[in-house]
Subunit: 272 residues, 2 copies
């Protein structure tokens, strides 16, 4: 059974893309067949995986907008430098979906429906889907910094919202607002949606960050994963190499922390 | 004559809000009557100035959506801890404008029209506008991390787009995309729009940041302000105090750098 994770937070620059790619890589390294999906018009996940969003024949947009009964998954999904990790790339046309899809009836289900061939026990033949040997164990959705249409699509398609937060003073406020939206999605389109929180870009030497981290832990208790991801400049370099951090710099602290975080995430998910 | 600056960049977390407040404060400190306008549904500028967006009777949204011929500016504009600096606060309802205004005809001019009473040589009487002694010298617009309706409103209302970028590998790409949008706005709704770029959140000890900074300087030459704003943890603290950095920590490096940057910005603007 496929588990879909929406990596979301409307605040900008809180390591959604970095975490989506890192966690997806850690899952793949453990042997899980993993697909990372780029839902941000800015397509940073696509670039971090080494692709140019403007030079791809097809992306997730063609699947979302396409009319085919049997879309050509094999043409859209890309490999990465990690064997078990595939990429469903995004591009700028996602902005069009963000702006204009919110008006359509039942728009919320568009992504869930689009992904259904690869989330069920669908076993596509090799010839139709040469990049898909079989369905994925984990699908991770990288969301843009907003609570608009694209994030709603992701939350409706997901089993879990996985929310990176910075240990900053106003972060809790934005978090509560995101959880309001999670609650609305639970009521309207996805009752099974659950969520988990973790701290990213943590400056462990900063007194205020330490205090905010404690406050978030107290406030959100069992919903927050124990391991914070601390600042590590190697995370700014790995996108240049087009590689996930655990391949680019396997022994850097960030690689270890993302691996630990992924184990904690799996505990939460698999103990449900 | 009022000069309006749109602080914009679709990338999340690149110090738009931090820079908007800091530059506005530096202008106010120099004696310019300055208004900072919060156009982000997340209302971080409003919070950084010490206000709770959910507890304000009126915000910029009421001016944008209001039907009054003579809106009550005095009820909307808030003071800050700096005498020459006022705040036009935002709130969550800006998300509604972001999602649903793009369809209206000539929506692009809504902000420019809304601000026209305070950008012309309009001299409101004290009784109608107790917080407005006269029109402002500078208006700064804090934009959300997207190139949607709110940013288009800002770019159509502005004389200058002032663009913070991080010295990161993919930053130039996003910058070029923003400049495409600037160009479209120049063609359709605002021929007088110009732009200037500066580097923010600069990690001066990082070799890659240094290299990217050089590349951005070479690529954008006279459009980029010389002084980068370096990382300074005091900038993460000042929003908690509800004060601009130059009041909260006047001698910290970031205060000096933002003052220098503001002088360089004024050179660009006033030499045109
Ligand atoms: N732990 C970390 N240490 C140092 N730098 C980090 C860390 N995590 C992320 N970064 C850097 O911070 C910046 C923002 O990260 P990222 O792009 O992943 O955030 P985001 O939430 O996806 O942003 P957006 O809201 O624009 O989608 C990037 O330059 C990234 O390389
Ligand atoms: N020079 C700096 N040094 C250290 N921290 C900084 C600096 N500039 C900004 N920050 C911090 O980085 C974070 C992001 O900054 P800010 O919120 O201003 O970015 P933004 O571009 O407005 O984000 P968004 O895209 O969400 O609107 C904030 O926590 C802020 O305090
Ligand atoms: Mg991202
Ligand atoms: Mg901001």
């Amino acid at each position: 059974m496929t588990i879909t994770l929406a990596i979301s937070n409307q605040k900008g620059g809180v390591a959604k893309t970095t975490s989506c790619f890192a966690i997806a890589a850690c899952l793949a390294e453990k042997g899980y067949r993993t697909l990372a999906v780029d839902l941000d018009p800015q397509a940073h996940l696509t670039m971090a995986a080494g692709y140019d969003p403007d030079n791809l024949e097809k992306t997730v947009v063609d699947l979302l907008l396409g009319e085919d009964e049997q879309p050509e998954w094999g043409k859209v999904i890309q490999k990465t430098t990690l064997e078990n990790l595939h990429l469903l790339p995004g591009d700028l046309r996602l902005a069009h979906i963000e702006r204009q899809f919110g008006e359509r009836e039942n728009y919320e289900f568009l992504l869930r429906q689009t992904l259904s061939p690869i989330t069920s026990s669908f076993q596509p033949s090799e010839s139709t889907y040469p990049n898909l040997i079989s369905a994925y164990d984990y699908i991770l959705l990288d969301c843009p910094p907003s609570l608009g249409t694209l994030t709603i699509l992701a939350l409706t398609a997901a089993n879990w919202a996985v929310v990176p937060v910075q240990a900053e003073y106003f972060a809790s406020r934005g978090l509560l607002r995101l959880l309001d939206v999670v609650e609305k999605v639970q009521e309207h389109t996805n009752p099974a949606l659950d969520y988990v929180i973790f701290v990213a870009m943590y400056d462990s030497r900063n007194r205020i960050s330490q205090r905010v981290f404690k406050e978030i832990q107290q406030h959100f208790e069992e919903k927050i994963l124990p391991t914070p991801i601390r600042l590590d400049t190697r995370l700014r370099e790995s996108p240049i190499a087009g590689e996930p951090i655990i391949l680019y710099a396997p022994r850097t602290r960030a690689s270890q922390e993302y691996r630990t975080l992924t184990d904690e995430l799996l505990d939460q998910i698999q103990s449900k």
